[in-house]
Amino acid sequence: MLKVVEETKKAFLTGNETIAWAALAAGADIMFGYPITPQNEVMHYWTRLAPKYGRDFLQTEDEISAGFTVCGAVQAGKKAFTATAGPGNVLMQEPFGMAEAMRLPIFAVIQQRGGPSSGTVVYSQQEVALTTYGGNGEGFRIVYSTATHQEIYDYTIKGFNVAWKYRWPTFLLGDGYQAKMREPLEMYDPEERGIKLEPTYPLVGLPGKIGEDREPQHLCNIYSLEEELYDVVTRLAAEYEKIVPELIEWQEHSCEDADIIILTHGIVSRAADDAVKALRAQGIKAGYFRPITLRPYPAQQLREAIAKSGAKKLLIAESSYGQFERLTKQEIYGETIKIETLYMPGVGIVDYDIINKVKSVL
């Protein structure tokens, strides 16, 4: 296979362009997609780049189809992915649910836009609930919420690997800003960095005669009996929960002596990081905590940060109206720390917004 990134090199790209390059470097075979802002350029760049490296693309008739074709391709042993946003994410919940049920190693990029419904094509963090727990299922998914273009590159490569290693649907949760802005990053060949690319393999059409050479491969997503489904979901839950400690990722600093911990995810954590530094410079003891994985959630780590700091307040700042707060509350049930919120649905949050909020509640 033609090497995508010969030598580690700096680049100045949009987030969407970064995803296309990282998917190539991760060895993705094919992308299925349907146009929707703000992820369109993932498709545009992929369709320009993919033929040069012998990779494929199919534009389907809608997002339901794009999701299901990814489900089909991974069963054939192909490293396949899609990218979508907003209403497209809604339509893809059916295939994403099937991927949970059948343990399909699909990878999907979600570039959040505003809602409800078609909302705006611009920025928001309003697809947290949908991406973590959407669909008629239990949220057996792995969701990485990125903050920089370097992370977009790193976690796209990691996302494919994790999907194929653990066989759960895996997501990179970005947003309109990350999709469209340009910033510097370093592109590299994962194997040169010692990152082993997980091998892919077909899940169906295996060699050998069923019953003689091998057991039948049941990739079932419909069950006739209530009790049967009960057994399956209980088993899936146990399998998912078992790997949680291996998957959880988070960032934390300045929590040791913090009076207030600022909790953010994704691009808002950049503003939170600046805010904590500025507040510290003014003598206000603020701490920084950021889940990188929203599913599974670093609940134990957040509880420990609260405990060791003895902080009296937790400020949750998000570009949505409580989706991240609800996710957090269910994970740290029982904690008595007072929760303050900064909801800015559909608009960006800058350090200034967080600093002002902290000062108003301390």
Binding site: F12, K180, M181, R270
Partner: protein
């Protein structure tokens, strides 16, 4: 270099986003941290097009900002649209080629500057290089990139056109130089508020 935040705004087709991209790339080429993000919503179809640029020596936080160090409003409508990005530390620049309602100007600014970019482009150079005059003005106002880096970035972006018509290279570089001078002169003479 401390963080510099720039908002460029104008009509679709004026080249706002192209200039922003070239400037950000020039800063990146000088090993600075740089972020460029357009406003990409439906408003850009028939609305005012805005580019947000940030340049710094150290890591940059949020991609957008509430208040800019420099705002350049390149069209009549852009003045009112971008007044919100101005505070007491902002250099607010607009073109003197249109009658601006004083109500539309920002309430707070370090300095409000009227600059004859459109007239200069139309009368002394070519309407096509209006946006390059603006690019030169950004450099004159902020020094976010060196003049040489800006020329290199232009060469990188427009090199193939320059090859076909070397006069274009001269025209663009001249526009860049004139824009820089206009800004430096305006800074000295500008109406302080």
């Amino acid at each position: 270099m401390a963080l510099v935040r720039i908002a460029l705004a104008g009509e679709g087709g004026q080249g706002v986003q192209s200039v922003a991209e070239i400037l950000a790339e020039a800063a990146y080429n000088e090993n600075k941290q740089a972020i460029y993000i357009p406003n990409f919503g439906l408003e850009q179809r028939g609305g005012v097009s805005i580019a947000f640029i940030q340049v710094s020596d150290s890591r940059i936080g949020a991609p957008k900002f509430n208040k800019a160090d420099v705002v350049i409003a390149m069209s009549h409508r852009a003045v009112a649209r971008t007044a919100t990005y101005s505070d007491k530390n902002t250099l607010f620049v607009y073109d003197d080629g249109f009658d601006v309602d004083p109500e539309d100007l920002p309430k707070e600014a370090k300095q409000i500057i009227a600059m004859p970019a459109i007239n200069t482009a139309n009368n002394e150079l070519h309407p096509r290089v209006f946006n390059i005059i603006i690019m030169g003005a950004v450099i004159g106002l902020t020094n976010v990139v060196s003049f040489e880096a800006a020329k290199e970035a232009l060469e990188h972006k427009l090199g193939s056109k320059f090859e076909k018509n070397p006069d274009l290279r001269e025209l663009n570089f001249k526009a860049l130089e004139i824009g820089k001078q206009l800004a430096e002169n305006a800074l000295k003479e500008g109406v302080a508020r």
